[in-house]
Amino acid sequence: MSARADILGKLGTAAPPPGAAEALLADPVRPTVAGDLVETFLIALALPASGATYERIDTVADAPAAVARYLAGHSLPPAVFLPDDPGLAADWSGFTLSPAITPDEPAVIACARLGIAETGSLVFETAPHAPMLPNFLGLHHIVLLPAAAITAHLEDAALPGPQPRAQYWVTGVSGTTDIEGQYIRGAHGPRFLHVLVVGEM
């Protein structure tokens, strides 16, 4: 007998009673998110555990200037990896753009679909215009997030219908406590996360 038939035979494949799984989703047990969503999100984002920074800007057109200020603040030249994402359409002519991602890319820009106020998480999906690897290779991860896209809970991240190859939630910077329990930022991924919250000032 095949391993599949063996395992499924042993376990049985009868369906659970209708509604049983849904009942376990009803009234989810989760932290309360009260007050302004954007404010709550920004507070979570700036907690030491997350270690991110942010700036609020009016429109995407303001992003290049904000990115230039951020890079200058870190004594970095105006050079970035910029994916071909329509959410990032602005005048980036003042920047040196990497034609392809490199293993030690200093700064990477990306556009998040959602922000989660509960945890300060950013939600991304893979798509033809949204590569995944750059968001883990860069040392400085600079993310544009529309203020209107900030939502209360992690449950809100679920996408209906066919899924992309990957949906990934980023909560702060890459970290490790693997050597003597000491917290180190930038284990493999970004050491810095800077969020530009666009609109709704």
């Binding site: 376990l11 049985g12 494949t13 899924q163 991924g189």
Partner: protein, 463 residues
Amino acid sequence: MSAAFAKRVDAALADPILKIAVERTAGTAEAKRAIAVDGFAHFEAARTRAAAIKDHVVAHLGYYLEQFEAAATAAGAHVHYARTADEACEIVIGICKAAGARTVARSKSMMGEEIGLPHALAEAGIGRVETDLAEHIIQLADERPSHIVWPAMHKTSEQVSALFKQHHAQPHTEETIPAMAESARRHLRSGMLGADVGISGANFLVADSGAVCTVTNEGNAELSLVPPRTHIVTAGIEKLVPSMGHAVQLLRLLARSATGATLTQYTTFYTGPKRAADPDGPDAMHIVLIDNGRSTMRDEGLAEMLRCIRCGACMNHCVVFRQIGGHAYGGTYPGPMGAVLTPALDGLAASRDLPNACTLNGKCQEVCPVKIPLPTLLRGWREKSWREGLEPATMRQGILGWAWVAQRPRLYRLAVRAAIFGMRRFGRGWIRTLPMASGWTAHRDLPAPDSESFMSRYARGER
């Protein structure tokens, strides 16, 4: 106690560094968890819900496996089933060979350890790059994980420094932990980007979408699973959840219980290989669903153990683990959850010491995010070991003898008086050595009994 287990425990207790190292990691984790739990007003209700979600899945595992398989297949993934660890390794090695793999990048997975994947890859001549920092350290040291969340917690920074200087092309020059982490970052980058196959475990398998969820705080899973042409997942069948909404409720508890975070830094749901127009991602995704004793555990009284989400809180809070660390347990999984799992995975005859190496103080059950009754399950193994006659003759005779006396109250009281008299000859307050009690007194003093037993004081009218 078996000689092998006693030897491992003796070595652990005699190690002057180990105790400090375990305290550093487990103590920090304990403190951080406490803060996280205080910050989540509904933590207790969340535990009850989480246990209910896992129980629901475990009761309908076959149904959710079929649903997951159909959804993952529709998304373009290949789903395989493995009854045993050997079958699982064979499947993984087969896929690696078919892909012409010379090296694989591995993202830390306890399932990989459980099935012996590092060994199987070595036997097949396939290079292995462990990308989690702790797994990288123990790969260089050629050791096994000592904790399910912090596999290298037994290593000091001095030991890590020496390993990196020996193995890294451009090691750190400054003797600081940040400099060591930077050295590993430099060293592992090419291994991750140049691997032919990326192998991960799964924290959750989402039945309705066919997604595989991984959780890391370093981002090494993503760096290991995006560049290679092939992504292989090895996952226990108990990792299923009906939907992302169910996974989310467990993720909240997993992060708080393991590291004290509200959510681990990187939580990723992978559904099938890259889509045609995607700029990156693997061309093929294989998911190996592994039973390895789980269906038997479900049917033979260990269904509650299948709730486990591998957070490590039980070991961080265990008084025995805090003394002896992880290696002394001798199995893939240490601590209380390991003491329940190892007899199921490796057989009770070889591991009957583990359920006995427990004080039954109940702390593990108290902190378990999915309310596994670990002390009850450990007692179950003790009873089974007794029924199957696995206890050594001296132990059986001793317990039977004690039971015989205990059922005769006058004789028992007489024996207690004699024992008090005898023991107090060896010390008042603390006893440093006692005949037939060297197992205790070799490592610590034994408190001397009071001059009178409780029963005689009670009989005298003392209340």
